[in-house]
């Protein structure tokens, strides 16, 4: 059967080629422009795909052109002087200027890093003979004070701005008037250290015969000078050599944190604190102290004593030493309770005659005389104590008292203040407050209108030290230059220049410094080096007999609960309270920021059935010396029974936005020159207080009602051993590592590292917990300050922190510090989980962040076992697009254009909503690599140093390339048996190694950490 065929036309019927051709087309009629769609293979050029491409491109190009503005900003060629570029300034390349930090208590030789005309970072001056490149938290943070918008912008009279000419004219005429009338002119200063300023004061005294110069320190060490007048015949503070001492005994002396010149001492101290295969020895450090400090935390043996017991302990120690080495005995003193400690210490001291050092930080002449006598008996003078004077803490308590009497009596008519803020930081606040308005002339030369300056008639602001010329003599014969790294930002003037002008000489600070250093050799060399050391090693000998003659053994008894006042490592005496970096640096022991509090011993808290806090503390009213103050209560492990401690340096009212009303001021509660008091009453008020703490748990053993973790858990975090164990076996405390290493395996293979493989090694033996690295990291990496409220909420941003763990007896625990930063795991948990690949692994072992890619899911932070990832919770950088959050005033400090000048241009400023973390200073790595490339050489170990590494006063941190077999970090990782990695058994393969902490103790480390936390304490409020 044939099919019936229907047809429409003859063409179809006959199936002509034309018809076939037409029928194959979708549109049988010719459509204009259709050829465009025809296949390119047929030769017509454009096919459908091309059309779509063209269309796609045009549409997106049009959309782009229409929607995205590309603003053209006028670019001005950088720093041209006429037609010539300033030769030393190359855009993008930093310049370095040697300078010196001096704060009255300590000095640090620094090198200021200057980018495009603005100083952005301070590094230790590695050539300097005393600080040797070490820095302190305060010196690191001082860069930010330069850009402090609270500083006065010009001289003021009352509240009105005046010109320097007017100020000079009015002040000099008033000075002359007072002098002529026979009124006294007092120049009240802090410890100056500056040769030129002291000269200027001398000139002023010459010009105005009734002028007197009085120096005082808020936290005074005048007793040392006074005792040395008796013992040594000269009222100096000598130089100490902790590196030469095999046995160090400290009495309430925080020489690693706040006492005299801690950076120098830390450098010395650390040299004997790290045992090695070649030299498996350590110095022995005993610390008798009340409040726990980082020095106490680093000590091998720590003995809690009440402040009043210090004298008894010293007498007992003196007698015990005298009995061993020969010497007259002091009688009549009450016995010191801890005789075993004294016997042990005296035995060790006597065995190390001339190789030991006893120091006390108590401002009490008798105690200092006893210390001198002990050192004298042991023959330490000339070896561990040298006669080269350390020109810090130049204050004179007696002179201050005389001045106050003169002010009260009306004899003083004119007052010039420089680095002095007596209304805030002396017990004479009331006297100054009421008298200052009645004086004929009152001038403050401080950089801001502070508590005293705001009451004075004139404030003639001094420069910040980074914008001024100065010449310091922090040790006798050791001259340090301060050179400007930027033009004065405001209309301020160096104090030396101001004072010289008032003395009638027209000059500049530059000329003064130049004249002063004329005899010191090449000006340029000196400036480049930053110091001149005209060594003048003066002999020193101690008169033991005269020293003990000055001791009244039976005097000085105290009763009841005692309080001791201490300085915090960051805030110190409170001068730099307006520095948000320092305010936010956690206290190394309490891990608390932005506050002072009354530290109470654990025994007291137990007695009172006070709940241990987590974030909130009960408020207590503390009464002593007839006055009282309300402060939050902090349990301080290691305080002796019936002793409390309070930090000075808080409660500023006119420091500036960041520093005002932070904590409570206790200076005005003190008795002049006494930093302790007895008969203290503490009553809980029943109120609660929020504390900004960045570590809330104290031990590795956490709760009473939870099962103990086995030792291996602790071992995954902190490993420790005692020296004997180390000497017997170099991997003491680290024995389990071999087994862990055997069990490390993976199905997935490892990252190949063909060139570099960056790593960091942290020595927990060297680390003293001072926090310089934390601040250095903040400054280098533009890490924002978030303010107390945010720290309280656990939203702080520090890339680097120092974890602090207590172990052993809660009444006198051992302390371990563990610097913690991104561990740059080679098998990183954070990298897997990021949905957008914002965090990934570099070919050189870095765990890196692409901030622009981050969408802020925080998954990586959750999955980080070290919790080092930080999220930008709020806008800390003043981005215009975001709402401004106002509960954290300090967090807004970067909203100021001026303050933003401190930002490191090599490091991205992170926007709100992205994760950030330690990058191992990748910008420095890049710079080092580029420098090596330009010099056509391979990188050398030490070319690249991270910010934390350079800031460390004890060289606890080593950075380098573990692929380089000769690098220090390679040796630390593969040859040092103390090396271990955190949670190594979990196979994170971290690029940060830690070294087992070895304590020079006779006892073995505690197997378990003593439980001190109670669970119901979550609320932390008193029942």
């Amino acid at each position: 059967m044939s099919e019936i065929k229907y047809w429409k036309s003859l063409e179809e019927l006959n199936e002509t080629p034309e018809y076939k051709d037409k029928a194959s087309k979708e549109f049988q009629e010719e459509i204009p422009g259709l050829d465009m769609f025809e296949s390119a293979s047929e030769g017509s050029g454009t096919d459908r795909r091309d059309f779509l491409k063209v269309m796609g491109f045009s549409v997106s190009a049009a959309a782009l052109a229409a929607s995205c503005k590309t603003p053209v900003k006028k670019a001005v060629p950088y720093v041209f002087n006429g037609n010539e570029q300033i030769p030393e300034v190359v855009p993008g390349v930093a310049d370095f200027y040697a300078t010196t930090y001096y704060d009255g208590s300590s000095f640090v030789n620094l090198v200021a890093k200057v980018r495009e005309g603005r100083p952005i970072k301070l590094e230790g001056n590695t050539d300097a003979p005393f600080t040797k490149g070490g820095t302190s938290a305060r010196s690191q943070a001082s860069i930010l004070s330069l850009y402090d918008a609270t500083r006065l912008k010009c001289p003021v009279k009352g509240n009105k701005a005046i010109s320097w000419n007017q100020a000079d004219k009015e002040i000099t005429s008033k000075l002359a008037e007072i002098n002529a009338a026979g009124g006294k002119i007092a120049i009240l200063t802090g410890s100056l250290g500056s040769v030129v300023t002291k000269k200027a004061i001398e000139k002023l005294k010459v010009k105005y015969s009734n002028a007197v110069h009085v120096a005082y320190d808020a936290v005074s060490q005048y007793a040392i000078r006074k005792a040395n007048t008796i013992s040594l015949g000269t009222g100096i503070i000598p130089s100490y050599q902790f590196d030469k001492a095999n046995v160090i005994v400290g009495f309430n002396c925080d020489f690693l944190g706040t006492w005299l010149n801690p950076v120098e001492f830390a450098k010395q101290y650390a040299t004997n604190r790290v045992p090695s295969k070649e030299n498996p020895t350590m110095s022995r450090h005993h610390q008798f102290q009340s409040a726990m400090t980082i020095t106490g935390a680093s000590a091998d043996y720590r003995y809690p004593i009440k402040p009043s017991e210090e004298k008894l302990a010293l007498i007992a120690l003196y007698n015990a030493v005298a009995a061993k080495v020969g010497g007259s005995v002091i009688s009549g003193a009450k016995a010191f309770a801890n005789k075993a400690a004294i016997d042990k210490v005296a035995g060790e001291l006597a065995a190390n005659k001339g190789r030991s050092l006893v120091v006390s930080g108590t401002n009490n002449v008798e105690n200092q005389l006893l210390v001198n006598a002990i050192n004298g008996l042991l023959g330490n003078y000339g070896i561990t104590i040298t006669g080269r004077s350390l020109n810090v803490k130049e204050g004179n308590d007696d002179a201050l008292a005389t001045l106050v009497a003169d002010i009260k009596s009306g004899a003083v008519q004119g007052l010039i203040l420089l680095g002095a803020n007596p209304v805030y930081n002396t017990p004479y606040a009331d006297v100054f407050k009421s008298a200052i308005g009645k004086l004929k002339l009152s001038v403050s030369l401080n950089d801001r209108s502070d508590e005293t300056g705001s009451l004075a008639q004139y404030v003639c602001p001094d420069n910040h030290y980074l914008e001024t010329w100065d010449l310091l003599e922090p040790k006798s014969g050791y001259y340090c230059f301060v050179q400007p790294t930027i033009n004065p930002i405001f209309d301020t003037r160096a104090a030396s220049e101001t004072l010289t002008k008032w003395a009638g000489e027209q000059t500049t600070a530059y000329d003064l410094v130049k004249a002063e250093s004329a005899a010191m050799g090449s000006w340029e060399n000196n400036l480049q080096l930053g110091f001149v050391d005209n060594s003048s090693a003066a002999g020193v000998s101690c008169n033991v007999g005269a020293s003990i003659a000055g001791v009244n053994a039976s005097a000085g008894a105290a009763s009841g609960t005692e309080v001791v006042f201490y300085e915090k490592v960051a805030i110190g005496d409170g001068t730099f309270a307006n520095n948000p970096l320092l305010q936010e640096m956690p206290d190394p022991i309490s891990k608390t920021t932005w506050d002072n509090y009354v530290c109470v011993p654990y025994s007291w808290a137990k007695e009172k059935d006070m709940k241990l806090w987590l974030r909130e503390a009960p408020i207590a009213k503390v009464s002593f010396n007839g006055k009282s103050v309300e402060l939050p209560v902090m349990i301080s492990f290691g305080l002796p029974k019936d002793t409390v401690a309070i930090a000075v340096g808080y409660g500023r009212t006119k420091a500036g936005k960041a520093g005002d009303n932070v904590g409570k001021n206790v200076y005005d509660l003190l008795k002049p020159g006494q930093f302790s008091a007895d008969n203290v009453k503490i009553e809980l008020t029943g109120k609660g207080y929020k504390l900004g703490m960045n570590q809330q748990y104290h031990t590795l053993q956490e709760d009473n009602n939870l099962p103990s973790r086995p030792r291996r858990y602790r071992n995954s975090i902190i490993k420790e051993a005692n020296l004997k164990q180390y000497q017997a076996k170099h991997n003491a405390g680290n024995e389990d590592r071999e087994e862990i290493k055997e069990h490390l395996l993976t199905l997935y293979g490892y990252h190949p590292y063909q060139s570099h493989h960056w790593a960091l090694s942290v020595d927990m033996n060297s680390c003293i917990g001072c926090g310089a690295c934390v601040i250095a990291c903040n400054v280098e990496n533009n890490v924002p300050v978030v303010g107390k409220e945010r720290v309280y909420k656990g939203q702080e941003m520090h890339w680097m922190r120092i974890d602090r763990y207590f172990s052993g007896d809660p009444d006198n625990p051992d302390v371990s510090f563990q610097p913690m930063m991104c561990q740059h795991c080679n098998n990183a948990p954070c990298e897997n989980v990021c949905p957008v690949n914002a965090t990934n692994h570099s070919s050189e072992g870095l765990n890196q962040m692409a901030y622009n890619r981050c969408i802020g899911t925080r998954y990586c932070a959750n999955n980080c076992p070290f919790k080092v990832r930080r999220f930008n919770w709020l806008d800390y950088q003043g981005n215009d697009s975001f709402g401004k959050w106002t509960d954290a005033t300090a967090a807004e400090y970067m909203y100021e254009d001026l303050t933003r000048m401190v930002l490191n241009p090599d490091v991205t400023v992170r926007t709100r909503g992205v994760i950030e973390k330690c990058s191992m200073c990748v910008q420095r790595i890049q710079e080092g690599k580029l420098t090596a490339k330009k010099e056509n050489r391979t990188l050398r170990d030490g070319d690249i140093k991270t910010a934390c590494q350079t800031s460390c006063p004890t060289n606890a941190i080593i950075f380098g390339d573990i692929n380089d077999g000769n690098s220090a970090v390679h040796k630390a990782f593969f040859e040092e048996e103390r090396n271990y990695h955190l949670f190594e058994e979990l196979h994170f393969l971290t690029n940060v190694g830690y070294k087992v902490k070895v304590r020079n103790k006779d006892e073995e480390p505690a197997l378990y950490f003593t439980p001190v936390m109670k669970e119901e304490d979550i609320k932390g409020i008193v029942k």
Partner: protein, 473 residues
């Protein structure tokens, strides 16, 4: 005869309904004057929703810092709420897909509302992963779009990316399934309206011009079956993938292989609880007692009992495995959950999810409306705490004690959560007013088999059977 059902089974439609009556009963809820009760409820819900939107706006304006999350607890209420809402959605999918395949006829009474609940819950859930991002304006980075940012692609290892695919697939399939089911019912509503009126036109568009041809029904049946087939694996996969967020991480308490089945069971558990909460109210207010009978409630309670026990078994298994694993971190995490500072949340979870549903072993309680309603609320609370326990009490004390911390929510977080409740209720109330709350066509399909008249006929049919004779006595 395949349609024979035992007359012993309880009828699923009571009240001696006719097809016409069914149409009238259900369509009447979409016509007539707006009831004041409905209006008040809707306005309150909308106000709460608006507050939630305000809180989201606040958070976007100022940053995640307005929440109580912190350096240690990176996720807290946000992801807790996300998982909770996603879990709630699961009941709808289970009812519409798995129960369809299993030929559970009782599903017809509740599937429409349950599916709507799924859609609305997923909408609420979806808000959290989006707005918990620090930079929500860059949220599109998670989509594998061709881009000009170099050869930059997503990280396909990240469970968070899997979530994106899982949730978006789930949402689209659920939406499609729900809407497909609605099409014939929209046709029914249209047919009840005056032809040519605005109402008629709107429902005509919504029903895609459904006229009820045999071909329409055939295609509709096929599509439903295909979508059921697609949805079935989704019921299992979505919450499995959500659980991967936790299971593939290293946080002690998260890093467990039990999480996928545990999450799925928990999701169905919480979903049914939410269905019960809503339906018990709806059947009362909208006079649907004849369609959502005690038999329905009892069936759902049985599922609650089953899934609650599964979840409970998972809790106990976790504890056992933590102990048995010998992993000290795992052991600590669970000891800390049960005995640590947030133990109250753990025991709330245990009580609500493991212990309380066990009352449903009693038939009397299973059939008690009041008790069922109360239990559904308890289970909803318990399941919220389950997610809170998993997320917060694992994170706040993980490896390094130095970073341990506590966590407190802020008003913004609470506001967003409450706000999603408002969004959910607003959507549900709008749905109940304008859409058929019970699947008219599907209910009709079982009238002749599972309705009360059918039961009478079935008795008739078997009256001579010896077995039934004895039973009748």
């Amino acid at each position: 005869m395949s349609h024979f059902e035992s007359p012993l089974r309880e009828p699923l439609i009571t009240g001696n309904k006719t097809w016409k009556k069914i149409t009238d009963d259900i369509v009447v809820n979409t016509t007539g004057d707006i009831k004041p009760l409905w209006l008040i409820a809707t306005l309150i819900s909308a106000a709460v929703a608006a507050f939630g939107v305000f809180c989201i706006g606040w958070e976007v304006c100022y940053g995640i810092g307005t929440w109580g999350a912190n350096k240690t607890v990176g996720w807290a209420w946000d992801i807790t709420n996300f998982v909770w809402w996603i879990g709630i959605g699961h009941a709808g999918t289970l009812i519409s897909a798995i129960l369809l395949l299993f030929r559970q006829k009782w599903r017809t009474g509740v599937n429409r509302a349950a599916e709507a609940m799924t859609i609305f819950a997923v909408v609420c859930a979806g808000l959290f992963p989006v707005f918990h991002m620090g930079r929500v304006w860059d949220a599109f980075f998670i989509f594998p779009l061709p881009n000009t940012r170099g050869p930059l692609w997503q990280n396909f290892n990240s469970p968070l990316l899997w979530d994106v695919f899982a949730i978006s697939t789930y949402f689209s399939v659920s939406l499609l399934f729900w809407y497909t089911g609605l099409v014939p019912d929209f046709g029914t509503i249209r047919d009840q309206a005056k032809p040519g009126s605005i109402r008629w036109k709107i429902y005509n568009v919504l029903s895609f011009g459904w006229v009820g041809e045999a071909k329409h029904w055939e295609r509709w049946e096929s599509l439903s079956l295909i979508l059921a087939g697609l949805s079935t694996p989704l019921v299992l996969s979505v919450h499995t993938i959500v659980s991967f967020d936790f299971a593939t991480s290293i946080v002690p308490g998260w890093h467990t292989t039990i999480l996928p089945p545990y999450f799925v069971a928990g999701a169905i558990f919480s979903g049914f609880a939410m269905v019960l909460t809503l339906m018990l109210v709806a059947r009362k207010v909208m006079n649907l007692e004849d369609y959502i009978t005690i038999a329905h409630v009892e069936s759902m309670n049985k599922i609650l009992l089953l899934t609650g026990s599964m979840v409970g078994t998972a809790y106990l298994t976790e504890l056992f495995v933590a102990w048995y694993s010998g992993s000290m971190y795992e052991q600590y995490a669970f000891a800390n959950r049960a005995l640590g500072p947030l133990a109250w949340s753990y025991w709330t979870m245990m009580f609500c999810n493991l212990i309380f549903p066990q009352f449903f072993w009693s038939k009397k309680l299973r059939r008690s409306i009041a008790f069922t309603f109360f239990t559904s609320i308890v289970v909803n609370i318990g399941m919220w705490f389950e997610r809170f326990v998993i997320i917060v009490t694992s994170l706040y004390r993980d490896y390094l004690p130095s970073s341990w911390i506590d966590y407190r929510p802020t008003w913004v977080e609470v506001g967003i959560y409450v706000g999603t409740g408002g969004i959910f209720m607003t959507l549900f109330l709008l749905f109940s007013r304008f859409f058929p709350v019970v699947a008219i066509a599907e209910v009709k399909s079982i009238l002749k088999i599972s309705g009360d008249q059918a039961r009478a006929e079935q008795w008739d049919e078997v009256k001579d059977d010896d077995v039934y004779k004895t039973l009748e006595k």
